[in-house]
């Protein structure tokens, strides 16, 4: 009788507590699949591709998605790159630059590898130290550079191109081909640039360079040119390309580390560790404001992880290992592999 009374009183207290102090569920992050668009075998180009069509890459294929997420055009080549409304494809004789609807804009008689960074087009033979800056509107060669050593890093933004070299130098080249910066950090037993990135405004450069020790170096444009403003040992000894990138509207830099991803805050130069799923394959801001999305792979499987601005993990999912890229278009997240594009809508409700 006494036990039953205690239980009853406890139940009443809990009920009253929950009625008086209801737990706020708060906004909830929702990621909802909308469509899966396969890359077809034939290009469904009908000559009516809107200017807002988005280029999406999956391995050797690039498709242009219309506003409804349907594939408006599709191209396949062993080497290709795309930007807003254009695509560059390598053929046996050289590189063709075409409109998204397939019309030829220009043909460059150079059988080099096209690559794009923030909509800027480059043709390169990195292992042989060659790189061309190309205007994708008309195929004009803006500049051409040839180095004695392999090129390890290419990134572009504003009117500038960052080039990292295996002899430990970085160069910053403007659209007229002028060298704005020729810098060799030193400080390591062996000099080589393993990774690098240029901020969206072109004012900051982040590199991972050298062996024994391997170091992270941040340069910032000041009145008298670019100056190193922060550096530290990464405690890694990669002998291959290392992923480096600016995120969160250039407020942070990420670079690959053996224990995940290092996140360097550019205000304080504080270095935090972000847990990453395997070796990072891609990262990006979005799909929602303040979100950071990282795609990683350990070879057997890929994983997608999203963190909010307060580093709270919002989403984690295991994906098939063939997933090769992610992209955000507005609040939509695109997950791409060789054969299809999955479109997911994200929202906070």
């Amino acid at each position: 009788m006494k036990k039953r009374g205690v239980f009853l009183i406890g139940l009443i207290v809990i009920s009253v507590y929950y009625f008086l102090f209801p737990r706020g569920s708060g906004p909830e992050f929702v990621l909802q699949p909308i469509a899966v668009t396969p890359f077809g075998d034939d290009a469904p180009t009908d000559g009516r591709i809107s200017a807002s069509a988005v280029a999406v890459r999956g391995g050797e294929r690039i498709g242009f998605l219309d506003d409804e997420g349907a594939l408006a055009a599709y191209f396949r080549a062993d080497a290709l790159a795309a930007g807003d409304g254009w695509i560059a494809l390598r053929g046996p004789e050289g590189v063709d630059i075409r409109d998204a609807d397939g019309r030829l804009r220009a043909r460059l008689n150079r059988p080099m590898q096209p690559e794009t960074h923030r909509g800027r087009l480059y043709l390169g033979h990195r292992a042989a130290g060659r790189l061309l800056g190309v205007d994708p509107r008309n195929g004009a060669v803006l500049w051409e550079r040839e180095y004695l050593v392999p090129i390890t890093v290419v990134d572009g933004s504003a009117d500038r191109t960052l080039i990292g070299l295996l002899d430990g130098r970085i160069q910053l080249v403007d659209d007229d081909g002028r060298v704005l910066l020729d810098y060799q950090p030193g400080g390591s037993r062996l000099e080589a640039v393993y990774g690098g990135a240029l901020s969206a405004d072109g004012r900051r450069i982040a590199i991972v360079s050298g062996l024994d020790p391997q170091r992270f170096i941040l340069l910032e444009e000041r009145k008298n040119g670019y100056r190193p403003v922060s550096h530290h040992s990464t405690e890694t000894d990669y002998r291959r390309r290392v992923a480096v990138g600016f995120v969160r509207s250039d407020a942070e830099v990420l670079y690959e580390r053996s224990d995940g991803v290092a996140d360097v805050a550019l205000e304080s130069f504080e270095v935090r560790r972000l847990e990453a799923p395997g070796r990072p394959v891609a990262w990006m801001d979005g799909p929602l404001d303040g979100f950071l999305t990282i795609l990683g792979s350990d070879g057997d499987e890929a994983a997608l992880r999203m963190v909010a601005s307060n580093d709270r993990m919002m989403f984690h999912s295991i994906l098939p290992s063939r997933v090769s890229g992610i992209q955000s278009v507005g609040d939509k997240l695109l997950i791409v592999d060789e054969n299809r594009i999955a479109i997911l809508e994200s929202a906070v409700r």
């Binding site: 062993d78 033979h125 990195r126 292992a127 042989a128 130290g129 060659r130 500049w143 051409e144 550079r145 040839e146 180095y147 004695l148 050593v149 392999p150 390890t152 295996l166 002899d167 081909g177 060298v179 062996l190 080589a192 062996l211 002998r239 291959r240 390309r241």
Partner: protein, 272 residues
Amino acid sequence: MRMGIRLASALLLLWPVLPASAGLWPDDASALVASFAAPSPEGFTRSLVFRSEGQRVTSWNAGEVLWIERSGGGDTLVLDHDDGFRSVYRGIEVRPDLSGSVSAGEMIGYAAGSDWRFEIVDDERDSIIDPLTLLPSRSGLAAPRVERLLVVLGSDRRVVGDGSPIPSGRRDIIVELSGGEAGTGVPVEISLYWVGVRVGGIRFDALSEDGGAVILEAPDPRRFDQVYGDDGALRFPGVMLNAGRGNLELRVEDETGRVVSRTWSVTVSSGS
């Protein structure tokens, strides 16, 4: 005891032909299909080019792995060596477990594609050097052969020695010679003499970087189009030929140090 003395004697005898810096051929020398600084669609060939038939590729010297880039079209491997050299192996399939230190002659991968390339970068001199200068000499090679000389006269080319006089002045002279192919010594220096005076010379032993382009040191810096022209033919640009009658001589030194020469009796007439 006698065996030991024999072995020591053999080593002492062999010592002069095994220079410490020579390194080792990374592939069979008979698989060589193109030599350093030869013309290619991309400009100067920076490397020795070997035919690929899936054979083993070995390290030129002891070193440390500096860079591996794996690619479907052939991997790139760069080794750093103690003496300021870096060796580059392009278009091979790098051994999956390769990392850290590598000993001289260690298997580093397999030849991929139709050919693969071997380069040596002199990090201290900031130049790419002809690997043949740092590899054990090849033996039993035929001498390179000078085929003919051509003088560029406007849009025409006249064969030197055909009996016609050459107008005096600065002339581009095109050299046609064989060499560099399998079994023939690779030319390393070509010199042109007019009546005994050296009027042109090119050495093919080092490439360097100049203003965003790779040039032949030669010993004066020369761009690709100043060495090979638009048509890919080897040329001496702007050779000064004063009027007179005499010998035009071409001397070619090959990788073994052997010099071959050919002479033409020529009349250089005054006026154009």
